[in-house]
């Protein structure tokens, strides 16, 4: 997937991926640490708030409790008459704003001996303190909880809260303190009665309402029995207990919590509100004095609200930031890779053959700049190379064309029509000339000097190729010219004359080995001259084979030497003359062995009775091919075979 994408994309993608990963890891770590910190902090805060609330409420309870405790003390030490009691109590109730009412309830006969029961109740009404008597036959105060329990326990007790029917339906609680006979009395230490005060618990609600627990967090207050004294839902207040709710919601966790709180435990837990499904934290603690318990409910959502918001903001910022980063990286990557792109476009053009395609201008001295400059150099070198190549190829083609023409010219010089004299019955000739290169330095030639005489020559210019072919052309021209001019001269004279001409202006020291013969077709008289050439073979009519090696001179063009000698011989009809150049005898095979005269002679012996020059020539050529096989032709191969059939030739 990545293989075909641009550098720019890859760079951007990689950097971005790395950044995203790092950012994500950092953020996760940060979030989880923050969350834990917040939770710890919230927990501390909740505890703190809980305890603070407990303390402030406790303070009120305690200070309120002091009053009857003090009263109890007073009564223990002695208020003996009724009037004193009335006055005292009126003062107490009047001066203490918290107290709605107060009772002093005595054991039978404990106040005024003989008087069965005495329980005056003092309360505020319309701004005055009035009193009534609880000793009502229908009431039986001594059987009430507020009397019995502290009596049994021998210590002060807060009552369960209750609604005051008479006083406007507010929640009240009663604090009952037992008092005893004074030390110096006969019943010292014995239970004498109960002092109570009734206080409203409405201020509790106010305290709770003032609690700011995040958005919708709240506090609630349980009585000793688990009944809700304070709760955001007014229906619950004084109506339901925590156990009722737990029952209703089938919430075992809530029930357990209720038990803990009622037992006076404190703690911090996490739970789910069944009705709302919200997760909440709960901090709870007891009121030591009253046995009530406080619970503070903190919605988890709200607890972490700030963190959640912060997290969201950070994520948004991070995403925006990463997008911006991606944009910047993409831009930078594009800037960096743009030269590469342009370079690659330009070199693609060059690759297609547009060698002049302009390379991008890159000023920088970085790697790309250097690369571009290298490309420029390469481009220039390439252009020059192509230019040179074109020129060289054109020149070569021109030369090759010229060579082809030269080859044709050269081949045109040499007689190639066989049989050359179809009307004549006295002679038959066949020859081949195969240059090693396009043009060569070998030559053969034959022509009728007059009706009776045939001139034939073979030659080999030193070297190969164009220089040799030029020299060969000159030689051949000289031969024809001299032969025609000096019609009655013998070969020796003609060759001597040719040599003179060839020696002048021969700076290149070129020379040509040459053999020239004149055959009288009527008489069979053969005259010949050899200027450094391979001696030709004579295949006599009777089958003898000899080489004409007795006449010998320098090759032509070497130096102006003594006149050349002419050899003489008479041949019978049926005689064959085999002229060849050293391209035959020096033909090489792959093992660098030479064909040599021996092998040539062997072929001639096989054909000693063959009269056809064509057959003889081609057989020699065939034998050579069999010998050399794959090896390259190293020299010009030239052969000329003349069969003298004679003026009166008849088949024998």
């Amino acid at each position: 997937m990545l293989k075909n994408r641009s550098l720019r994309f890859k760079l951007s993608a990689f950097v971005l991926t790395g950044t995203v990963l790092v950012t994500a890891i950092l953020m996760s770590y940060y979030y989880s640490v923050s969350r834990q910190l917040i939770l710890d902090s919230a927990m501390k805060n909740a505890r703190h708030l809980t305890l603070e609330t407990v303390n402030s409420i406790e303070n009120v309870f305690r200070s309120t409790a002091k009053i009857p405790e003090n009263l109890a003390y007073v009564f223990e030490t002695g208020i003996t008459n009724e009037e004193a009691l009335y006055r005292f109590m009126e003062t107490v109730v009047e001066h203490n704003t918290e107290i709605f009412g107060s009772t002093v309830a005595f054991e039978p006969g404990a106040f005024i001996p003989g008087q069965e029961r005495f329980a005056p109740y003092f309360y505020k009404e319309d701004g005055r303190v009035v009193h009534s008597d609880l000793n009502d036959p229908g009431y039986h105060y001594h059987l009430q909880d507020w009397y019995q329990i502290p009596k049994e326990l021998r210590k002060p007790v807060w009552s369960e809260p209750y609604y005051d029917e008479g006083g406007g339906g507010i929640i009240m609680a009663t604090y009952s303190v037992p008092f005893y006979w004074p030390e110096d009395s006969k019943k010292a230490g014995q239970f004498r009665g109960i002092i109570t005060i009734d206080i409203s618990l409405v201020w509790l609600k106010e305290i709770f309402e003032e609690l700011q627990i995040y958005e919708s967090g709240y506090g609630f207050l349980l009585s000793q029995s688990g009944k809700y004294l304070v709760h955001p839902n007014p229906d619950n207040v004084m109506n339901a207990s925590i156990f009722d709710i737990a029952e209703l919601q089938q919430n075992e966790q809530l029930r357990e919590l209720g038990r803990k709180m009622v037992r006076g435990q404190s703690g911090f837990t996490k739970t789910t509100q069944p009705d709302t499904g919200r997760e909440v934290y709960l901090s709870f603690a007891p009121f030591p004095s009253s046995g009530y318990a406080i619970g503070i409910v903190i919605p988890v959502e709200e607890l972490f609200a700030d963190l959640t918001r912060l997290n969201r903001d950070v994520i948004i910022l991070a995403v925006l930031g990463l997008l911006a980063l991606f944009g910047v990286i993409s831009f930078i990557a594009g800037r960096i890779t743009e030269p590469i792109r342009r370079l690659s476009e330009a070199t693609a053009l060059i690759g297609q053959g547009e060698f002049n395609a302009p390379l991008p201008e890159i000023q920088a001295n970085d790697e790309i700049g250097r690369l571009t400059r290298s490309f420029e150099k390469m481009q220039i070198a390439l252009e020059e190379y192509i230019r040179n190549l074109k020129a060289t190829t054109a020149a070569k083609e021109k030369i090759e064309g010229e060579l082809r023409i030269a080859h044709d010219i050269q081949m045109g010089i040499i007689p190639r029509t066989f049989p050359p004299f179809p009307d004549r019955k006295d002679v038959d000739i066949f020859g081949i000339l195969e240059p090693a290169k396009a043009v060569g330095g070998d030559l053969y030639d034959f022509f009728l000097l007059d009706d009776n005489r045939l001139g034939a020559a073979i030659g080999d210019v030193s070297g190969k190729g164009v220089p040799a072919s030029l020299f060969m052309a000159v030689t051949r021209t000289l031969l024809r010219a001299k032969s025609m001019n000096m019609k009655n001269a013998n070969p020796g004279k003609i060759i001597t004359s040719m040599n003179m001409d060839l020696c002048t202006e021969n700076d290149a020291s070129m020379f040509v080995t040459f053999f020239y013969l004149i055959l009288n077709l009527k008489t069979g008289d053969l005259e010949y001259c050899n200027a450094g050439h391979n001696p030709p073979f004579i295949l006599h009519a009777n089958g003898d084979i000899e080489a004409l090696s007795n006449v010998h001179g320098f090759p032509l063009g070497v130096m102006e030497a003594d006149p050349y000698q002419t050899g003489k011989l008479n041949i019978r009809p049926g005689t064959r003359i085999v002229l060849y150049t050293d391209g035959v005898t020096e033909a090489e095979n792959m093992e660098r062995e030479l064909f040599r005269e021996e092998r040539l002679r062997a072929v001639l012996e096989k054909f000693r009775d063959c009269r056809s020059p064509r057959e003889i020539t081609l057989s020699i050529r065939g034998a050579m091919k069999e010998f050399t096989l794959e090896a390259e032709q190293s020299d010009d191969i030239t052969m000329l075979v003349i069969t003298y059939l004679g003026g009166n030739y008849t088949e024998t």
Binding site: V461, S509, V558
Partner: protein, 111 residues
């Protein structure tokens, strides 16, 4: 084809090793022209010359001409059988001064 040269008593010896043909002739020719500029007496040691073609003959001829024109002397020595044959055909054995070996060649030059 390799060429080794040595100078002894004013005589420059050129040792021709390998094949002297149209391909290798230019190398020999260049060397030879250099040497001729400063020397007059030459020995061409052909002991290790395996093969000579007409192109090779040409440059030897050229050597002979150049040396002779300057009034100097050229002696060939140590010619092997195949090479000697070629010389004989062209009658170059009459043209060039030849010796069997380097010693005889030196003697010939001094004479």
């Amino acid at each position: 084809m390799e060429i080794k040269t040595s100078l002894e008593n004013g005589v420059m010896t050129i040792e021709i090793i390998g094949h002297l043909d149209t391909m290798t002739a230019p190398v020999y020719e260049k060397k030879m022209l250099e040497l001729i500029a400063g020397n007059q007496q030459f020995i061409a040691d052909c002991t290790q010359l395996d093969y000579i073609s007409s192109g090779g003959l040409r440059v030897l001829l050229m050597t002979l001409k150049n040396v002779t024109n300057k009034g100097g002397k050229l002696v060939l020595c140590g010619l092997q059988e195949p090479v000697l044959e070629v010389f004989k055909i062209c009658r170059f054995d009459n043209l060039f001064a030849m010796a069997a070996d380097k010693q005889s060649a030196l003697q010939q030059i001094i004479k």
